[in-house]
């Protein structure tokens, strides 16, 4: 499975377009991390817990997108985009979408 965010691949030809595939994941962090983040709001600096959390959920969103692409028989997802939105306090939705294609 090739996943990229460019529209064409230099070394491969697109045989068939299979349309949009997407994956999303909504996550919240546990209270301990929220408290740590609250402390960090005083001292400033990187919120490692949040960074990890978002990376994990983005990976999960990608995984779901790839699963969907596999289900329609694609072997690559091109032009992948990410989007983030906060749905509630302390929870974030991570969304990944792209075009499923069959490469030769």
């Amino acid at each position: 499975m090739i996943v990229t965010n460019i529209e064409i691949l230099p070394d491969k030809r697109i045989v068939q377009h299979l349309g949009l595939v997407q994956g999303s994941s909504v996550r919240a962090k546990h209270v301990g991390r929220d408290i740590m983040a609250g402390l960090k709001n005083i001292f400033g600096g990187e919120l490692k817990g949040y960074t990890e959390l978002l990376q994990e959920s983005r990976a999960e969103a990608m995984e779901r997108m790839i699963e969907q692409a596999e289900a329609v028989g694609a072997n690559a997802v091109l032009n992948v985009r990410f989007s983030t939105s906060s749905v509630a306090a302390g929870a974030a939705e991570l969304f990944a979408y792209g075009t499923a294609v069959v490469l030769e």
Partner: protein, 149 residues
């Protein structure tokens, strides 16, 4: 009275730790930018269509950075008179450069030579008290490619 003492303590803590963390972060950013300079990150949408370009892979880097108490206080004051909020400018600048560096580090792990179609996304994920921005998340992503040159 006790409230004032708490406020001053928080401001002092924020100023002390915040500026120390920021200067250390900038030093580390500059050092890593120099070591990763051989992998250019470009925003061009189309890769060169020659034979040598191959092994396209998505790479990404993200970071969540929080502003310290002192800077948030300054920004609140700035809100009254308007103008450039420099304390937040350095926050997002740091976050963007860090995210791009993490993306490049991932590209280096794949032995890529260049990163194409770099996109940057900024979102505020955590609202601080009084709905002021507490922290921002920056995501940088692009397509790493190998080129024979």
């Amino acid at each position: 009275m006790i409230d004032l003492i708490i406020l001053v303590t928080l401001l002092a803590l924020g100023y002390g730790f915040g500026s120390y963390a920021e200067s250390r972060h900038y030093k580390s950013i500059i050092a890593r930018e120099n070591t990763l300079r051989h992998i250019p990150a470009v925003t061009s949408r189309f890769p060169p269509m020659n034979e040598g370009s191959r092994d396209a892979a998505l790479v990404s880097g993200s970071v969540v950075v929080s502003v310290d108490y002192f800077k948030r206080f300054i920004a609140t004051l700035r809100n009254l008179v308007g103008g450039r909020v420099t304390s937040y400018e350095s926050l997002v600048d740091r976050a963007r450069r860090e995210a791009i560096l993490r993306m490049k580090a991932e590209a280096e792990k794949l032995h890529a030579d260049i990163v194409f179609n770099v996109k940057l996304e900024t979102s505020s994920i955590h609202k601080g008290r009084g709905n002021s921005i507490g922290s921002v998340e920056v995501l940088a992503y692009g397509t790493a490619l190998k080129t024979d040159q």
